[in-house]
Every structure is written in structure tokens, then in C-alpha cells.
Amino acid sequence: MPKKTETILVKEKIDEFVRSAADRILEWDDRLDNIALVGIRTRGVHLVRRIVERIRQEKGVVLKTGILDITLYRDDLDDNPASPQVRGTEIGFNVQGMTLVLVDDVVYTGRTVRAALDQLIDFGRPRAIKLVVLVDRGGRELPIQPDFSGSTVNTKSGQDVVVLLAEEDGMDGVRIMSRK
């Protein structure tokens, strides 16, 4: 059976998300050197790079950034046929007292964010952790909500939200694909 595909965000909308996210993030701490953006692998890392570049253009300041690989904190390690690949976490600054902004492409069940929160707290005690996502697709299984999202769509469990970013996929866009 052919898959049904619907484009929900085009490149211009993703650019707009980057600009709005940058504006919002700057409101979350009076001191820019106290804000750090942490991207969840893989596409969250690219979004962090774009947001930081936008802030650099606007304010002339380069914010601190980090990368999270949440594999070792997953709650479904026992359900996998083999240990999933670990690709490394890079938090090259002291998180104590910082405002950390967690960035990912999609929030769905909330389990990835739960794992990311647990991991971040193992680095120290930040002042606050905020969540920024490009797409909130509903379907939460844990009490976790984004502080800023680029778009909200209500999806069903038979659907996949596919985020394409030029750095990874050669083009920008967000699509919903129906499996049946």
C-alpha cells in the first residue's frame, strides 16, 4: 500500500522557528554567558548550531553549546536485540547555575527528554532547564512539555513525523508520513 505523505513545514518556516527560538531563549536569562544550548543527537545538534548562529548575528555573542547522546539513559535498553550504538556526549562547560536549553527536532512520548534531563543533572545542578523543539506532535506518555515549539501537530500512532535538515538530509522540511 502506498504511503501518504504530507508536508507540514517548509524551509521558510524552519528559518522562522530558528529566529523565534533565538528571541525567546534570550529572555530566559539576563546574562548571555549564563545560557547554554544543548542539542540532542542527531538533529537537535544541527538546530542548536543554527540558533547559536542567529544569536551571534543579532547580538555578536557566541553562546556555549553541548551535545547529548541519550543512549545510556534509555528506558528500553532491555527491549533491544543488541546494545544501541553510543556516539558520545560533549558538555565542555560547568553546568552549575546555568540556564540550559535542551533542543530537539521532535517531542513525542517525552521519553527522550526524560533521559536527557537525567543525564544533564549528572553533570551538576543547573539553575533551570528549558525545552525547545521544532515540532510538538502530541502523544505524550510522561508529564513533559516544551517551553517553545515551532509547530504543534496532532498525529496518530500510525504516522511518522520526518524532519529533514540540510546538514543531514540535503534539504529542509517536515513531513508527516502515514504507514497505513
Binding site: 545510556l72 536485540p81 543488541a82 546494545s83 544501541p84 560533549e90 543525564q119 549528572d122
Partner: protein, 306 residues
């Protein structure tokens, strides 16, 4: 995914891709030891049993700490002096420990093949922590990891092992691993301590260290097991040290950026003088640090296989 093994028994068994997968995974685990809380929850609720039927300090502590940093519970079985535990007794001991519900058994034993035998008689995953003179796969992996970190590659490097090759499980695991990753391997030592058929592994054999020392990028010094001297395999410690010990004078003939390794414990003044062991070319303590990351990676990878 390039890891499908329930046990890590030898490096002879592993493919080039599997070795690289462990090294890459270890790379990610190195970062965990730099955190404020040096622990990840990956093996929470799992039990790792360290079964050491032969003395060991470094390896046992390293595996114990690696398991703890993965949030596993650990139990230590140390059979002081009972190195002759074999056959049914060894099997029974293992069966009993397994009955307590362990997930991973880390085994050090004097008998070559003991880990393989254990893997065939219990359901838990088995990691070889050294089986007699046969293999010491995690030591081989951590040595190769350290070489790659220092030199940025393994392929095309010239690596020399010095000393007692015959009784060295460290050399054997390293040779299997290094050859698979495309390094050239040489061995040098007293003729009585070099196994007859070693060339069949694709290794070059030398007897004069001074003649060849300048050709190598990495020199791995094997511990002289002092008990061997009593078997008259070489005339005296002093003569060994004069011919094969690495000292400041000998270092002048080596490449300026040569990497000096030793699996420990070192006999200062025998295989290596303090000025070299503590000098700029020595990575001996980095090997220990890397060993922790490599063992975390191995425990994580085997734990995922049903």
C-alpha cells in the same frame, strides 16, 4: 549495528569491524569519567561477577570500576591460591555463582580456554580477563585504543613487542588485533622466549633490539615474569636488562616520537628504567585510564545480547 556477540573470549575471533566498534564505543565512554557524577544507568539492575582464579590487581579493579560506572552491581570471587581449580570443580563453582543470578561473568583463569568452557556451561555472558598464556582481549583492545589515540591511526604503523612472547597473553591478543587493523608487528627477545611458530601469525622475529629499535612507532614492553628465570629460560635478569631493557641510552636510537607501552606491573630497572617509564614517550598510565573506558564498552556491548 556491528556487535552481535554474547561473549568476549578472544581477539582472534573478532573481525576488524567488531574491533573498531568496541574502540569507537570506548571513545564515547571516556567522557563519562570526566563528569561530576561519573556514572551512567545503562546496566542498572544487572549483576557483574568478577571471577578471579589467578591474582590480579589492575584488571580486577578496572573491571569492577567499569561495572560500577555502568550502575551494575558487582560481586568479587577471588580464589586465593587455588589456581588448580579445574574441570568439574571449576564448573560447579561457576554454576553456583550463576545460581545467584548474575548477568555477566568476568573470568581470569590460569587454564587457556577456561572462558570458552564457562561460556558453554552457563547462560550468563562471559568476558575473558586473561586465560593463562592464551589471550587477554581487553588488554589488547585498550593497547590498540591507546595507540590509535596517540598516533591517530593504527593502519601502517610498526609495532614492536619486547620480551617474553611465549608466555604473553597480552602479546597474543595484541598481535591478532593489530594485524586485523593493518599494523605491522615485530617481536624481539631471548630466543628461548619466542615461540617457534610465531611467524605464522604474520609477525617478524628479531633477536637484536638495538639493530631494529629505530624502525618502530610503538614499543610495547612485556613484563618479565620473574618466575621464568628460575626455569633457566634466560641466564640472568641483569643480562636481560642489558640486552632488552629500555633505558635513556637506548631511547636515543628510537624514533623521537616513539610510544612506549607496558601492560604493568612494571619491574623498574628490568624491562624499563624509571627515566623512560616516567618520561615523555611513556603512555603507561594512559593505558590504565583507557582500560576503564574499554571495559565499560565491552560490558555494555555484551550486556545487550540475549
Amino acid at each position: 549495528m556491528s556487535w552481535h556477540r554474547k561473549h568476549l573470549l578472544t581477539l582472534e575471533d573478532l573481525t576488524r569491524e567488531e574491533i573498531l566498534h568496541v574502540l569507537d564505543t570506548a571513545e564515547s565512554f571516556k567522557e563519562v569519567s570526566t563528569r561530576s557524577i561519573k556514572k551512567v544507568p545503562a546496566l542498572r539492575g544487572k549483576v557483574v561477577a568478577n571471577l578471579f582464579f589467578e591474582p590480579s590487581t589492575r584488571t580486577r579493579i578496572s573491571f569492577g570500576l567499569a561495572a560500577k560506572r555502568l550502575s551494575a552491581d558487582t560481586i568479587d570471587f577471588v580464589s586465593a591460591g587455588s589456581s588448580t581449580v579445574k574441570g568439574e570443580t571449576f564448573k560447579d563453582t561457576s554454576k553456583n555463582i550463576e545460581a545467584m543470578g548474575i548477568d555477566i561473568a568476568v573470568l581470569r583463569h590460569t587454564a587457556p580456554g577456561a572462558p570458552k568452557m564457562l561460556s558453554e556451561c552457563i547462560d550468563a555472558r562471559v568476558v575473558n580477563a586473561g586465560d593463562g598464556p592464551h589471550e587477554h582481549p581487553t588488554q589488547g583492545l585498550l593497547d590498540i585504543f591507546t595507540i590509535r589515540e596517540e598516533k591517530g591511526k593504527v593502519e601502517g604503523l610498526n609495532v614492536l613487542f619486547v620480551g617474553d612472547i611465549t608466555h604473553s597473553r597480552v602479546a597474543r591478543s595484541n598481535i591478532w588485533g593489530l594485524k586485523k587493523l593493518g599494523a605491522s608487528v615485530g617481536v624481539v627477545g631471548p630466543a628461548t622466549l619466542i615461540p617457534k611458530k610465531i611467524e605464522e601469525l604474520g609477525v617478524k622475529v628479531y633477536y637484536d633490539l638495538d639493530e631494529v629499535i629505530g624502525e618502530f612507532d610503538v614499543i610495547n614492553l612485556l613484563r618479565i615474569q620473574l618466575e621464568r628465570q628460575r626455569q633457566n629460560l634466560f641466564p640472568s635478569i641483569r643480562e636481560y636488562s642489558r640486552l632488552f631493557g629500555i633505558n635513556g641510552e637506548r631511547m636515543k636510537r628510537a624514533k623521537p616520537d616513539v610510544v612506549i607501552m607496558h601492560p604493568g606491573p612494571i619491574n623498574r630497572g628490568v624491562e624499563i628504567t624509571p627515566e623512560v617509564a616516567d618520561g615523555a614517550n611513556s603512555v603507561i598510565l594512559k593505558q590504565v585510564t583507557n582500560g576503564l573506558a574499554v571495559r565499560m564498552a565491552v560490558l555494555y556491548l555484551v550486556s545487550g545480547i540475549k
